[in-house]
């Protein structure tokens, strides 16, 4: 009856209001998008003009349009600042960078393995009343105190250099183990055991040849903490393994001593493939 009719009208009105609101929101959104596009187009056109002028050589070395006012001192300063920041980034790539502080100097020691930059660590030093370490982010398993006792007071360069050697060797060992786990996980039996310093690795791996799977156990000890190659390698086979495997084990042992772990595995894998 009437009541139902009123309800229907109310519902219609409600829906119409909703539609109206939705339409309004869409129009607002469209307006916003159009404005943004206009803004970006202006920005892009200004940049294009600058780049074109530059390419035609009409911009002087200072990067400002020559036929207008003098290049602003501010532009010159900003460019010099950018240049300097780029140079300080280069120092990061050299392995030792840092900045002077009110109380001394804060060194940043970067680590890398063959072109791949890894973690960096900081060493905040005070210089008065005597040189001392204020703060640092060097992991505790690096013998920092020992190195400081030996060198910090007498030769800061040597101190930073030795810490850098330790950190880079550690980073290199860790990188090799990580690469092994990432790329050769199918050849590793069980888990690869390693300590925090990554100077002791124990694991088993298999090599398939002539449709047989041969398992080797290996223990790598990196006795020199400044070196990323092991000083001691023990490769053994299972007790019931055939005698000729001793030769393979010896060959692998020699390989691990001379070549980075993940690279050694690359040649072991490809040798295995060739044998098949």
């Amino acid at each position: 009856g009437v009541f139902a009719h009123l309800e229907a009208l109310e519902a219609q009105a409600y829906e119409a209001a909703l539609k109206q609101e939705e339409l309004q929101q869409q129009e607002e959104k469209l307006a916003r998008l159009k404005a943004r596009v206009r803004e970006l187009r202006l920005q892009r056109d200004a940049l294009r003009a600058k780049v074109d002028l530059q390419e035609k050589g009409q911009l002087g070395k200072e990067g400002a349009v020559l036929d207008k006012a003098q290049p602003s001192a501010q532009d010159g300063l900003e460019r010099k600042i950018k240049s300097m920041k780029a140079m300080l980034q280069i120092f990061y790539l050299t392995g030792i960078s840092g900045k002077l502080t009110k109380q001394g100097v804060c060194f940043c020691i970067s680590t890398a393995y063959e072109g791949t930059y890894l973690d960096s660590y900081y060493l905040d030093l005070l210089i008065k009343p005597q040189v001392q370490i204020y703060r640092h982010s060097v992991p505790i398993f690096i013998p920092l105190e020992q190195i400081a006792r030996k060198h910090l007071q007498t030769d800061i360069r040597r101190f930073v250099s030795v810490v850098s050697d330790h950190l880079n060797a550690y980073a290199g060992r860790r990188y090799q183990a990580d690469q092994l786990q990432e790329h050769f996980s199918d050849q590793i039996e069980g888990t690869l055991q390693r300590n925090s310093l990554c100077n002791l690795l124990v694991f088993s791996y298999h090599v398939s040849s002539e449709s047989k799977t041969l398992v080797f156990n290996v223990r790598l000890l990196y006795g020199d903490l400044c070196c990323s190659l092991p000083t001691e390698v023990i490769v053994s086979c299972t007790p019931d393994a055939p005698a000729y495997l001793a030769e393979t084990a010896a060959a692998h042992s020699d390989l691990f001593r001379r070549v980075a772990l993940h690279k050694a595995f690359r040649s072991i894998s490809s040798a295995g493939e060739k044998a098949d």
């Binding site: 596009v37 940049l47 600042i81 970067s110």
Partner: protein, 191 residues
């Protein structure tokens, strides 16, 4: 209202933002001049900035001068500390895809009596927390290239793109060289 019209505008916004990034990089790259630094220039610059921004009490320019003075001081310190003096640096973006950028660097300098010229390519990838860097190409020219030990060292370093080891070795050599020179002078004076 047809929703596809939003997509058209949103697509254009994305492509404009991308274009702006590329143009900005192109503009900034070509602005980068070869920079030449000598000890005297750096000391003079720092002194002049220190003098000038003491006079100006405020303003954007004095902030910039203070910032530049601080950067120059750090740079000068690092060169003295490492023994490595950079005399020129040029970088250029050669490739940019997504969050990966490849930049080509030309760098020249010396460490005591050893002069070097490097060209390397650096691949930088923007991660969530930081930027990772990998040297993808490295070529080194040493002035004293005839020395066979030196050329072995250089080609091994180039092969492994081991930029960091190159600089650490250079710096160590510099230290040793300095020590030797001082020892020699000491004996020269004595006898």
């Amino acid at each position: 209202m047809d929703c596809s019209i939003f997509q058209v505008y949103e697509d254009e916004i994305q492509s404009l933002e991308e274009e702006i990034k590329l143009l900005t990089e192109k503009y900034e790259d070509s602005l980068q001049e070869s920079t030449f630094f000598s000890d005297e220039e750096i000391v003079m610059s720092i002194k002049s900035f220190q003098g000038e921004f003491q006079q100006e009490s405020k303003g954007c320019e004095s902030d910039l001068k203070a910032q530049l003075a601080s950067l120059l001081t750090d740079f000068s310190f690092l060169m003295k500390f490492s023994g490595i003096k950079f005399t020129s640096h040029l970088k250029k973006t050669v490739e940019r895809t997504g969050n990966r950028t490849v930049k080509k660097h030309s760098l020249a300098g010396n460490c005591h009596s050893l002069s070097f010229q490097l060209e390397f390519q650096l691949l930088e990838t923007q991660n969530k927390e930081n930027v990772s860097a990998v040297v993808t190409d490295l070529s080194i020219i040493m002035e004293s290239g005839e020395d066979s030990d030196m050329s072995k060292f250089v080609s091994s370093t180039e092969e492994h793109r081991d930029l960091l080891t190159f600089f650490r070795s250079l710096s160590s050599y510099g230290e040793w060289y300095e020590h030797r020179r001082r020892t020699f002078l000491h004996f020269k004076v004595m006898f």
